[in-house]
Amino acid sequence: MAKKQEKIEYVKNGKRLDGRKVDELRPVKMEVGVLSNADGSAYLEWGQNKVLVGVHGPKEALPKHKQNPYKGLVRYTYRMATFSVPDRKNPRPGRRESEISKVSGEALEKAIFLEKFPNTAIDIYVEIFDSNAGTRVAALTAASLALADAGIPMRDLVCAVGVGKAGGEIILDLNKDEEDAPDAVDIPIAIMPRTEEIVLLQMDGLLTKPEWNKAVKLGIEGCKRIYEMQKQALRKKYAEAEQEM
């Protein structure tokens, strides 16, 4: 007989397990230009998540048969460190990592003016040092900062956030405990904030139509808050110039 599980209240009096409101983000810290040997780089802490991104390129795409004379390639590599999860993670890239690399790379492709760089490749290396749900959105946010730092022409920054459901409530930026809820729904969402064009959207779990509408609205609102932080982080690097104005 299965052990009777104690029912957890994920939202109580408008507060969540970690004391946040339903539409509140975890504390986010962003820093740009942290790696000297990369063309662009960014470090991001999002709650317990720790992400380091390095961008190399645009550079000649090799092997040569991968080159496209009409546009550049984006090669996004998402990797989780062995010590990023409670148990040791096998360092071999698995199904999950390959998939996240693919969808995140495609999300950034939408934002970059790739047609300006024929026959080239832009390498983006993402390393997750610590994870606590929502690493792919943290990685995407940091990667877009690193791309801007590398001086790669973009239509817009890409900002991402996770939304979902836990304990029957639609909440913003789920942490690991909430993601493990029995009725949990997790929706990573990435947009280009100026046009609100969605460049990444995944979902596992089930939602009703009103819940879905509420979740997407909340997600876009969260993304815009992340966007403001991204702008601040980029400007901080040139804070001196701002003072001169």
Binding site: R155, E240, E244
Partner: protein, 223 residues
């Protein structure tokens, strides 16, 4: 050499006149007015947006953004410093610090060049995949090459070559600044020049740079 400096300098000329600055990130609005388009901007729904992290000048007649980083993409009439990489049947492949290869026809070059020869050249044409064809070649003997960020080159030249003049007088170096971010230097106090250029690079987004560099060079002289 002075003619060549003049050829590059006017690009900077327009910039220094505008006092008001604005830092923009990719996707930021540069202007809603109808303006001529310069570099690193794009139009969407009739509005002009920035495509790079950089500085823009709202009072300028041309909407453009000076990026704070980036790779060198050759453009027509650029004066560049290059190194001969390889000899082909009819010319040379030249390394011009770009991600794309560039070609120099032997017909357009009086001297016989060798691998690793240092040359200055102008960009004659750029094709649709950003490969440059060079002409107007001069060969340099001796000296050394300094590498700087290509987007900072206009500041190293200064308005009408003012910064170049300060650098030349302050260090006694003979130098040629290529638009591709390579600076050829010979003679004089090379170390001091390298320090001065490093200063320009790190403070390229600030005002009154010529005055600062002048003071820096003089300060070193006293020591």
């Amino acid at each position: 050499m002075d003619n060549e400096i003049q050829a590059v300098a006017p690009q900077e000329g327009a910039k220094a006149e505008h006092k008001k600055k604005m830092i923009v990130v990719p996707g930021d609005l540069v202007t809603e007015e109808r303006k001529k388009l310069g570099q690193h901007v794009f139009i969407e729904d009739g509005k002009v947006y920035s495509d790079a992290l950089g500085i823009t000048y709202p009072d300028s007649e041309i909407a453009y953004v000076v990026p704070l980083a980036g790779v060198y993409i050759p453009q027509r009439d650029d004066l560049i410093v290059g190194i001969i990489e390889r000899e082909t049947v009819k010319g040379y492949m030249v390394n011009i610090n770009s991600i794309y290869p560039s070609y120099l026809s032997a017909d357009k070059c009086r001297d016989v060049l060798q691998k690793a020869s240092v040359v200055s050249a102008k960009v004659d044409a750029v094709n649709e995949i950003n490969e440059a064809e060079l002409f107007d070649v001069r060969v340099f003997y001796g000296g050394e090459i300094l590498s700087v960020n290509p987007s900072k080159v206009p500041r190293i030249i200064g308005k009408n070559g003012s910064m170049l003049l300060v650098l030349k007088e302050g260090t006694g170096c003979n130098l040629l600044v290529g638009r591709n971010g390579w600076v050829w230097i010979k003679g004089g106090d090379v170390k001091k020049l390298a320090d001065a250029i490093k200063l320009i690079e790190s403070e390229a987004h600030l005002d009154n740079l010529t005055v600062k560099v002048e003071a820096f060079l003089k300060g070193k002289k006293v020591n």
